[in-house]
């Protein structure tokens, strides 16, 4: 029961925790986090509602809380935010091709 809820919330918290611990760029740019989160949430609300309402995906109500906003399961929001957090983490970790020398 509610396996998708548990998995999505756990992944969101893991992504947040890993960024706070291991991503200094993330920690130092709190205003940017708020703006990016806003963009991600708005984009997800628009696109996921369009696709879920159209019938691209079917979600099993037994695996979710049953809360929809308005068509998209609440869990999708955590799924999208987890995807964003892990992407931000790996993006900041990935080597830049042109590093400025510190000397």
């Amino acid at each position: 029961m509610m396996e998708y809820t548990a998995a999505a919330v756990a992944m969101f918290l893991a992504g947040l925790g890993l960024n706070l611990k291991f991503n200094p760029v993330f920690r130092k740019n709190q205003a940017a986090i708020m703006v990016a989160t806003g963009i991600v949430v708005v984009a997800q609300l628009v696109f996921d509602n369009l696709t879920v309402a159209t019938g691209f995906w079917h979600f099993n109500d037994a695996a979710t809380l049953g809360i929809r906003i308005p068509f998209m399961p609440l869990e999708n929001l955590f799924f999208g935010l987890a995807l964003f957090l892990f992407t931000a983490l790996f993006w900041e970790w990935s080597p830049r091709s042109h590093r400025r020398s510190s000397g």
Partner: protein, 124 residues
């Protein structure tokens, strides 16, 4: 066979590239691949397990009909396209906020430097 899901991804990708150009975001291919591939692999693995467990399913009416395991090719592409959009959104947010910070710092340093401002510049 239908291409709605593929068209939906093409729309997101077009929007992402338009934003990247508009905000002059650097997306070095190597850095993007190194960042996106591990995330995609991890989330595709989650998707495979979730579909197996019956948490969600795909409507074949909107798919090209090409599958790798239980994953439609569109779903695999989703985990490349959407993180690329997220990288652009993150870089835009950083750029905008750093720009604001710089403007504030410049204003503050002008105030601290003692240069007479137009208001209250005269000494009593």
């Amino acid at each position: 066979m239908s291409f709605e899901y593929a068209a939906y991804l093409a729309l997101i990708l077009t929007g992402t590239l338009a934003l990247q150009r508009a905000f002059r975001i650097q997306l070095p291919a190597r850095r993007l691949v190194v960042a996106v591939l591990p995330v995609a692999a991890f989330f595709i693995a989650w998707d495979v397990l979730a579909v197996d467990a019956g948490h969600w399913s795909f409507n074949p009416e909107f798919l090209l009909g090409l599958f790798i395991g239980n994953q439609p090719v569109e779903e695999i592409a989703f985990f490349i396209v959407v993180p690329t959009f997220y990288v652009v959104a993150w870089e835009i947010s950083k750029k905008r906020m750093q720009g604001k910070k710089k403007t504030k710092t410049t204003r503050n340093s002008r105030a601290i430097s003692g240069k007479p401002s137009k208001i209250g510049g005269r000494k009593a």
